[in-house]
């Protein structure tokens, strides 16, 4: 497993343009598979337009303590893109005035931003209905300076959303790095200890599952039952919901698909699983994604592909919900990952936003 980002390895795929080119060539250029646009046209859903903005998702930086093999952010310890306090102040201005009910902090490991705690405190003073932090779990145990974060989250009534690709060590460590499973379990124990995931505590702890290889996830409810049973039985761990998401063919997951000779089969599987009904619930319909340097995107994936919103307003400093509303969402073949099967960011069938963050 790689221990450095694509960027640090100077891999061609660290270039968003290279990824987009790849996703439009081959099977999509020679007509073997329809492009995402063609597919949307057939079901009369092109162009894709947003509904009102309900979720503001802020990526506070690409630095991470892990280098997961599937990471769509290409995050890692070597990434230096970190949101500054100035940009955070601009975000706070927007949070004060937005109608969005959910604030969703992601990364990288958002906790590694030196202004993370300050930002959470300030944002929670404003009052956010649902305040999500996407924590990769291991960060909470990586250094004593993070050990009190479960208490800190509790104090600010943070809704913790964490990745857990499997309830066994083998499958988790192969995706996220050796030792990750044990540390994650320890972190979950600490979160449980302050009340997270416990019935009646009001402290929400959700897990996010994404497949540990070139296959699509199965039924969310069945997996949630298996996770709940196994984590309770083996570690006495409890959590609220399991969200099942599909890996999008971008960044390091795209690198893996190509290197393991799974790319074509995976794209066939995604296209075959295209569900026109899932289009209405893709996360870009009600989310704006903000990058570490304040630019605006339809979603965290488009952020990584450097596809800024198709709007006059492209930066948080000029944020204007009305203007942003009137845009077409930028799509490409990676979007097939959001519309496969039940859809993987469907707030329609899910009570909570389930996707978009890495970590």
């Amino acid at each position: 497993m790689a221990t450095k980002s694509l960027l640090a390895r100077k891999n061609k795929l660290s270039e968003p343009k290279e990824q987009l080119r790849f996703l439009s060539n081959g099977i999509f250029a020679d007509g073997k598979l329809p492009s995402f646009t063609e597919k949307l046209k057939v079901s009369q859903q092109f162009p894709l337009n947003p509904n009102s903005i309900e979720i503001l998702q802020i990526n506070v930086g690409y630095m991470c303590n892990q280098v997961c093999a599937h990471c769509h952010v290409d995050a890692g310890p070597d990434r230096k893109e970190i949101m500054t306090r100035e940009t955070m102040l601009q975000c706070l201005d927007v949070i004060k005035n937005t109608k969005a009910h959910t604030l969703d902090l992601t990364g990288g490991a958002p906790e590694m931003n030196p202004n993370f705690r300050w930002f959470v405190e300030e944002a929670s003073k404003i009052g956010v209905n649902d305040f999500i932090v996407r924590s990769n779990l291991t960060i909470l145990r990586s250094n004593p300076k993070y050990y009190d974060l479960p208490e800190f989250f509790k104090k600010h009534n943070i809704h913790v959303v964490s990745s857990m690709p499997h309830y066994t060590q083998d499958m988790t460590d192969r995706q996220r790095g050796s030792g990750v499973f044990k540390l994650s379990i320890k972190a979950l124990e600490e979160l449980n200890a302050v009340g997270y995931g416990k019935e009646g505590s009001g402290l929400q702890l959700d897990l996010v599952y994404n497949p540990t290889g070139a296959f699509l996830p199965a039924d969310q409810k069945a997996l949630e039952n298996d996770f709940k049973k196994a984590l309770k039985r083996d570690f006495n761990i409890e959590f609220n919901n399991l969200f099942v998401i599909t890996n999008l063919p971008i960044s390091r997951f795209l690198e893996y698909l190509i290197a393991s000779d799974n790319y074509e089969d995976y794209m066939y599987a995604l296209v075959e699983a295209f569900n026109p009904a899932a289009v209405a619930n893709v996360m870009c319909k009600n989310t704006i994604s903000v990058s570490w340097d304040g630019y605006l995107y339809d979603c965290d994936f488009n952020q990584m592909l450097d596809l800024k919103v198709a709007s006059k307003v492209q930066h948080i400093s000029a944020y204007n919900e009305k203007v942003l509303q009137n845009r077409a969402i930028i799509t490409s073949q990676h979007c097939y990952g959001c519309t496969a099967g039940a859809g993987s960011s469907c707030q329609g069938s899910l009570p909570n936003p389930s996707e978009g963050g890495a970590t």
């Binding site: 599952y209 497949p211 540990t212 290889g213 199965a218 069945a222 298996d226 066939y268």
Partner: protein, 111 residues
């Protein structure tokens, strides 16, 4: 036409059997789909049974399909291998139990 008997891309064309016999094809796929739904057995248990049987009937398409299906359902590789052993044990038992027939015949013909 490919110059070998099995081609993994043929699995994608499985649905085409309906084109040459619509009613039977449709009925088969309907039945097949129904069999694998959650029932008295969970879809997860059915997936493991299918994997074991795939090995016993030596179907490479089914082995590919149910390995992937198992992964999608979060089934571990240990569970999958144990299922294959169940299939293998039954198959070898079925061979060996015929040894009794051999013994019977041997005894009958021998002085």
């Amino acid at each position: 036409m490919a110059n070998n008997y099995y081609d993994s891309s043929d699995l994608k064309k499985f649905g085409e059997i309906t084109e040459w016999s619509e009613e039977l094809g449709k009925k088969f796929f309907e039945y097949y789909g129904k069999v694998f739904e959650e029932g008295a057995l969970s879809a997860r248990e059915k997936s493991l049974i299918a994997l074991a049987v795939s090995h016993v009937v030596h179907c490479p398409y089914c082995i590919d399909a149910y390995t992937k299906d198992g992964l999608q359902r979060g089934i571990t590789k240990e569970e999958m291998m144990e299922a294959v052993h169940v299939g293998a044990a039954i198959q070898s038992g079925a061979t060996l139990v015929h040894g009794v027939q051999m013994m019977n015949k041997h005894k009958k013909l021998s002085m």
